[in-house]
Amino acid sequence: MSTEERRIVVLRSSDEEIFEVDIDVASESQTIKHSIEDDDSGRVIPVPNVDGHTLAKVIEYCKKHVETPRSDDRDAQDALRAWDTEYMKIDQNTLFELILAANYLNIKGLLDLTCQTVADMIKGKSPEEIRAMFNIKNDFTPQEEEDIRKENQWAFE
């Protein structure tokens, strides 16, 4: 295998979409990195838990963060943060798929970014508002809910 060929990795999403990705970019995912280290034969690496739409978005993140040199320069850091903010302007469905992908693919920076985004959506909201926002079913009985509310407010606030 020539050095040129080795620099590309081929990923296949759950819905059979193919992505040719630079090895450094793919290695932002610890999961993929270990996969490459274990099997260097250059076959296609399946990513069964992540669909093509999400995988494209993941690759976009990894590409940007690999390309951007690490810098102590305040302006450079601000610029990257601004890029992250723009990148995060996505619908809730994509956001959740991205979190699950980042978790499965073990990409720390992306997991931190996406979780922080969800956390920011939670801050300042009531339980009812949080449930509505994320379409979560309230499976407490009224008594259970009241007991928790009381303990929270009387003791822990």
């Binding site: 978790n103 939670i122 979560i136």
Partner: protein
């Protein structure tokens, strides 16, 4: 989101840090409740009698950091007799048994014994931070145990505590291998510490950023410390008295010229004002300055000093700064967010002290001002109305006119309109203390406008029970209400009994409430502890239901009447 693995939920919750938000998260659904309670590391308990340690640990087994608050706020003014309660001992015993991973403990207005400190120091291998604020009951022996046994200690912060000082070997107890100290504050201690030990400790603590010394630490020692700790951000100077040795003064000046990191200064317990110019380079970078223990700095020296403080965000000062000094602050400190002016109780101060004019100057000169504590001898409605117009962003506003029921000296009217203006203008007001001559009217204003108000302090104010009613009915977010020497009686107390379940606590002393009224409240509201106490430990609890109660403190609780109340406290 119903299908997120728990580890992902935990990762999201790690970014949710405020207690209110975590409480909301825990109430969303059963899975969220489970993940949140297993992952909560920082627990805040605003009233140590609202819950017990066992129940806290059953809920939060992964706890690493605990904040506990004990006595009511009026304990700061010696209004709570000694022995009332707020003992930390049972908490530490329970934590020692079931929470070996404890790393941080922050206590406010609690009683802490040497035995507690010793148990603390040997029970938690990773213990990193101890902060004690307005606590009592311990001596430097307890501190010695902390120093000796907490090998990974990062922070020991003692603020305003009553400590029995057995004269200073405690500092020498820090092990030679302890190099992790980041913050050390012993400014409230009265006794000497071993200078060599102190200098040595500083020299082997490369991460030290906060160091607040007590008044016993000499100028000479200070110099040695500064040479060994070039990265300090927060410095509390002990004594700043120049002896006749000009050489030391020159050395200090040179050291300070290179000292670019200090952002916060305090202390100056004993000061030779002529030494101050050596510190001017430091003042230029300060964001926080506390001169409230430095009566030695006044007059022109003080004003000259202030002129250097262009970046100040927080200023605590004595009232001998005068209106003149406050005008200089207003002209210089454009970044000022918090101002506290404390009474100096000096004879000269009455003439030079601060008035409404000083406050008005600050309000118009400092656009970022959001927190004020102001002790003065008099105040006018006109001044308060102007301040309200200039500063709609107040979050905390506490005005303490030292003479009770003092009217506006110009119009001889009550100060209802002045305080009313504040509450109407400052939509974000969370903490409010009022004083001077006040009728029911000011309470009407508070009830109408103070929508975000969480804590209200009242003394010598109001005419009838209706006043207290306005506040209880109007202030939906009220958490703490403390009242002294007001004509509010049983009618006010019993007007809206359910309200007290939405609040943390109510204090009423020297008011008109009777034993009968308190008993009725206790009968109707079993979820409240209604405690009554006499004037001091010797006082008897009244047995006649018509008799007025000297002090009443009530609070909501999950665990019923406390078992540790002394004889002079009766839970009804």
């Amino acid at each position: 989101m119903n299908y997120f693995p728990e580890e992902v939920l935990e990762h999201i919750f790690d970014c949710v840090t405020s207690h209110k938000d975590r409480n909301a998260v825990s109430s969303v659904c059963k899975t969220w409740y489970k993940v949140e309670r297993e992952s909560r590391r920082r627990v805040f308990i605003g009233n140590c009698y609202a819950i017990n340690a066992e129940r806290m640990m059953a809920r939060f087994p992964g706890l690493r950091s605990l904040v506990l608050k004990g006595k009511p706020h009026f304990a700061d003014f010696n209004m709570v007799p000694p022995g009332w309660g707020a003992f930390v001992d049972p908490w530490i015993k329970a934590l020692a048994k079931a929470c070996p991973g404890l790393e941080e403990l922050r206590l406010k207005r609690m009683v802490v014994s040497d035995e507690s400190l010793e148990l603390l120091s040997t029970s938690f291998v990773n213990f990193k931070s101890l902060v004690l604020i307005s606590c009592e009951g311990f001596s430097t022996d307890g501190l010695a145990a902390i120093a000796a046994n907490c090998r990974h200690l990062r922070e020991l912060d003692l603020q305003e505590n009553e400590v029995d000082d057995h004269k200073g070997h405690w500092l020498s107890c820090f092990s030679e291998i302890c190099t992790s100290l980041e913050s050390l504050n012993f400014s409230c201690l009265k006794g000497e510490v071993n200078s060599a030990a102190l200098v040595n400790l500083v020299a082997r603590s490369p991460n030290l950023r906060t160091l607040r010394l007590n008044h016993q630490v000499s100028f000479d020692t200070l110099l040695k410390i500064l040479v060994n700790a070039p990265h300090l951000v927060d410095l509390g100077i002990g004594s700043f008295v120049r002896d006749s040795n000009a050489e030391i003064y020159r050395k200090l000046k040179n050291v300070l010229l290179k000292y670019v990191s200090i952002r916060s200064l305090s202390g100056f317990f004993n000061v030779s004002p002529r030494c101050l110019p050596a510190m001017y380079p430091v003042f230029m970078n300060l964001t926080s300055l506390n001169l409230s223990y430095a009566p030695g700095i006044h007059g022109n020296e003080l004003i000259k000093l202030i002129r250097h403080c262009k970046k100040l965000q927080r200023l605590w000062i004595l009232d001998n700064v005068g209106d003149k000094g406050l005008r200089v602050v207003a002209a210089t400190c454009k970044e000022l967010e918090e101002l506290r002016v404390f009474p100096s109780h000096l004879e000269e101060a009455e003439n030079a002290a601060v008035t409404g004019e000083g406050l008005v100057a600050i309000s118009s000169g400092c656009p970022k001002l959001n927190s004020v504590l102001y002790f003065c001898h008099q105040m006018t409605n006109a001044a308060l109305i102007t301040v309200a117009k200039n500063c709609p962003n107040f979050i905390r506003f506490r005005l303490c006119i030292l003479d009770p029921q003092k009217p506006d000296p110009v119009t001889m009217e009550s100060l209802d309109e002045g305080f009313g203006a504040i509450v109407q203008s400052c939509k974000r007001l969370r903490r409010f203390s009022i004083s001077g001559l006040l009728t029911d009217r000011v309470f009407l204003y508070i009830g109408m406008y103070a929508e975000q108000l969480e804590m209200l302090s009242i003394a010598f104010a109001g005419d009838t029970d209706a006043a207290m009613g306005y506040v209880l009915r109007g202030c939906k977010k009220l958490k703490k209400l403390e009242i002294r020497d007001c004509p509010f009686g049983d009618k006010a107390l019993l007007m809206d009994m359910g309200k007290y379940e939405t609040m943390r606590s109510l204090w009423m002393s020297s008011c008109e409430v009777t034993l009968g009224g308190c008993k009725k409240l206790a009968r109707h509201m079993p979820s409240l502890n209604v405690e009554i106490m006499g004037e001091n430990e010797m006082d008897n609890i009244p047995d006649d239901e018509t008799q007025k109660v000297s002090k009443m403190f009530l609070y909501r609780t999950l665990i019923g009447p406390r078992q540790d109340a002394p004889d002079f406290v009766c839970t009804l």
